[in-house]
Amino acid sequence: MVNDTPILTAEGITMEFRGFVAVNNVNLSVREGSIHALIGPNGAGKTTVFNMLTKFLTPTRGRIEFRGQDITTLKPAEVARLGLVRSFQISAVFPHLTVLDNVRVALQRPSQLATQFWRSSRVLSHLDDRALELIDAVNLSSYAHLPAVELPYGRKRALEIATTLALDPTMLLLDEPMAGMGHEDIGRISDLIRQISKGRTVLMVEHNLHVVSDLCDRVTVLARGEILADGSYDAVSADPRVREAYMGTEHE
């Protein structure tokens, strides 16, 4: 259920790279339980915003709050432990681990089975059921015992989503989850996102506007590092500035 309390807020975050301002004074507020899209032309700063929210970059200025807690100065791993987990724009898997192991690595952390160096890794087998369930959800069952490198690109993205879900995060940040996927997979992943968004919050960057219009409750449009528009998909897509800067004239 979408409610009004923001789960994540960013106030005036700014990112400068040696004098180049990639993101300028952005205010963002994501409501708990919503699927929020961040769209914008290439180079608008979407990935950079993601990097700041998940602390892979430290904002030059600004403040970020997650569930009421100031996370501006935390480390990336800490943020993830609070339940704010991301995927990457370029697919990020553990290439020489099998699909199953990839997911298990994620399952290991919340289950306190990560630091035990004196026990056999066989104790991890009780995570298998949950892992296979997640793998099935992204339609990778037939690949479960293959090393992740051998998957086609689109499947890697699916695996990445499964791994992210394994942490059972409060909030997911997905950077172009559909990029490189075939049409049928796009449908499946859309369904999956919709399904998992029950009880969670999702912030996603996506260029596929069908997906955005389909899935998202709210859309923020970023252009040249600044917020251009913010609102429902329909409202935003009607905005002439957005049409000019992003969608182009042809789009429905």
Partner: protein
């Protein structure tokens, strides 16, 4: 696999009656050292170019404790391990913030500093080294001056260390180490504090290297500068590479091979360094998986052909 392990164990138990015990002990010490080193390079992907610090450092600690303070050999060993772990914590804390070649260089730099300190402080006795360390009686019971007794103690230490490496690698912790090696950013984004894992692995590796160094000091009854110099760090790399990086048994094979070679070549006319160099080159060019790695690959291929 089990059969093979049993066979190896029987072989190790019987070895001192066939081969020269001191040579075997030397092999065991270096094999353990190489296993400890391999824990880092093979499973965390960190190439330490300063592992001699822990090996040689522990050798000094143990030798000093046993000789000057008259400690029991076991207590001396323990001190060596703790000392090495402490050094590992210090070096690791600084080094793990960097990766790849930079990590190698930091460990090299810190290793050089440690070697410098060893040269300067009085208790190491400069280039003479701590000589004439008594082997003594283990726990006041087992007379280590008996080569066979010394051998079995060394074997026990080695097996303990080897098992520890095996356990660490095949533990939930080891699993995360592998994941970190594969994709560190991803591991971070999953909420792992990767630095702690790396540091943990580093300290474990240092402690095990220290166990090897301390044992060596008791076996040979001295601790000298050669054990802390960077050439020693190079040697352990050679052993591990030769045996097979990232395989459990590889470093053991590699160490045994190198030590046997050094010993054998010592009395031949062929210059030792040249041959070691040639082995290095051949290994890197043709047998990158190392001896153990290549053999395993061969077995695997044969198996898959049979299926």
């Amino acid at each position: 696999m089990k059969a093979f392990a049993a066979l190896a164990l029987v072989g190790l138990l019987a070895a001192p009656f066939v081969f020269y015990p001191v040579l075997l002990m030397s092999m065991l010490c270096f094999a353990l050292f190489a296993c400890a080193f391999n824990l880092l390079i093979g499973y965390v992907g960190l190439l330490s170019f300063g592992h001699a610090t822990f090996f040689g450092g522990a050798a000094y600690f143990t030798a000093h404790a046993v000789k000057v303070w008259g400690w029991d050999p076991l207590a001396g060993l323990l001190l060596g391990v703790l000392g090495a772990a402490a050094l590992g914590l210090l070096v690791g804390f600084l080094a793990i913030r960097r990766q790849g070649i930079y990590f190698a260089m930091i460990t090299l730099a810190l290793g050089q500093m440690f070697a410098f300190i060893c040269l300067q402080v009085p208790f190491t006795h400069g280039e003479d080294g701590i000589q004439g360390v008594p082997r003594g009686h283990l726990l006041g019971l087992i007379d280590l001056n008996d080569p066979i007794a010394m051998y079995y103690v060394t074997l026990a230490v080695f097996l303990f260390g080897f098992f520890a490496v095996w356990r660490i690698v095949n533990s939930p912790f080891g699993n995360i180490l592998k994941a970190i090696r594969e994709n560190e950013r991803r591991a971070i984004s999953l909420g792992y504090r990767v630095d702690r894992y790396k540091l943990g692995a580093f300290v474990m590796s240092a402690a095990l290297a220290g166990l090897a160094g301390g044992t060596k000091a008791i076996v040979f009854q001295f601790a000298t500068l050669t054990d802390v110099q960077w050439q020693m760090s190079g040697e352990v790399i050679l052993m591990t590479l030769l045996g097979g990086i990232g395989t459990l048994i590889g470093p053991v094979v590699g160490a045994a091979f190198v030590i046997a070679l050094q010993n054998y070549l010592a009395s031949s006319d062929f210059p030792v360094t040249v041959l070691i160099g040639i082995i290095f080159v051949v290994c890197v060019l043709l047998f990158r998986r190392g001896i153990a790695g290549e053999v395993m690959e061969l077995l695997k291929r044969r198996q898959s052909k049979q299926v």
